[in-house]
Symmetry: C2
Subunit: 160 residues, 2 copies
């Protein structure tokens, strides 16, 4: 028996379930591409690290996660040999993240996983449907961002 959801489910529930599917799909895509050691949070690093290097702080802004989260992803990728960090010549507080040769080889695959999932989902529904969904979410996010007292994002999850 399939798991059912109520006729008028709370949005939080739907957002959580669909998001879980997304991350699972990204993870599967990475595994299928032969990169079992790259986990979803790492993908952002590949996606956003330019040839000239980038600070972790910049990466956090692009990926919309906190410093701690991004720092950990970078550290793990450093251990795995995909990136390296060097002092930022222009800012002695900072360090720049670079892709290693190995990292550059992986980059196209890692940064494409998201697009792959997008495409798969568009097949399941329709490109128009997905575009509508994306636009609706984007609009809502922008309204929320302008509405709330900004900042203050908790860690809690629920749906009721």
């Amino acid at each position: 028996m399939k798991e059912t959801i109520p006729d008028n489910p709370p949005l939080g529930l739907l957002l959580r379930l669909v998001h879980q599917h997304w991350t699972q799909a990204v993870d599967n895509a990475l595994d299928a591409a032969g990169f079992g050691d790259i986990r979803p949070p790492h993908a952002n690093v590949f996606t956003f690290t330019p040839p000239e290097g980038i600070q972790v702080s910049e990466l956090t802004k692009l990926a919309h996660v906190r410093k701690q989260t991004m720092t950990q992803a970078v550290e793990e990728l450093e251990k795995l040999g995909y990136v390296e960090r060097r002092p930022d010549p222009n800012d002695r507080r900072g360090r720049l993240v670079f892709l290693t040769e190995r990292g550059r080889a992986v980059r196209p695959i890692a940064s494409a996983t998201g697009r792959k999932v997008d495409e798969r989902w568009a097949e399941l529904t329709s490109p128009e449907e997905m575009e509508m969904l994306r636009q609706a979410l984007k609009l809502l996010f922008e309204k929320l961002r302008d509405d709330q007292p900004a900042g203050a994002v908790s860690t809690s999850r629920s749906d009721s």
Copy 2:
């Protein structure tokens, strides 16, 4: 400067950000109602526990979380005095969760927080927009549920 998102952001990013807003809003609503000790995952328990009691396993199906997650929520609410557990007279493996008197008093507020957030979001955009979003997510979820080899939900998160 407002946090910006790319023109064509990965869906995973949008899903995560909007979901974060949702849970934050639920948390705020509970605090505002004077129930700072009730955290978002608890709301499901209030929403789904009927007068005749219910097993944790049933709650997990309704809320779509794993046993461990729901068990923890129930244990916390038990410590706080909102619910109690008694042996299930019809199944010696199980225990039934009941709302205490205190729990029954809170129930309407706790289970309404989700609806409150829905309404607020409908004000920010429009009721039609929110309904469209809900339907799009629901449709997508159903397609995904029927598509995938079912089960296998990982814990990873990412957006690229």
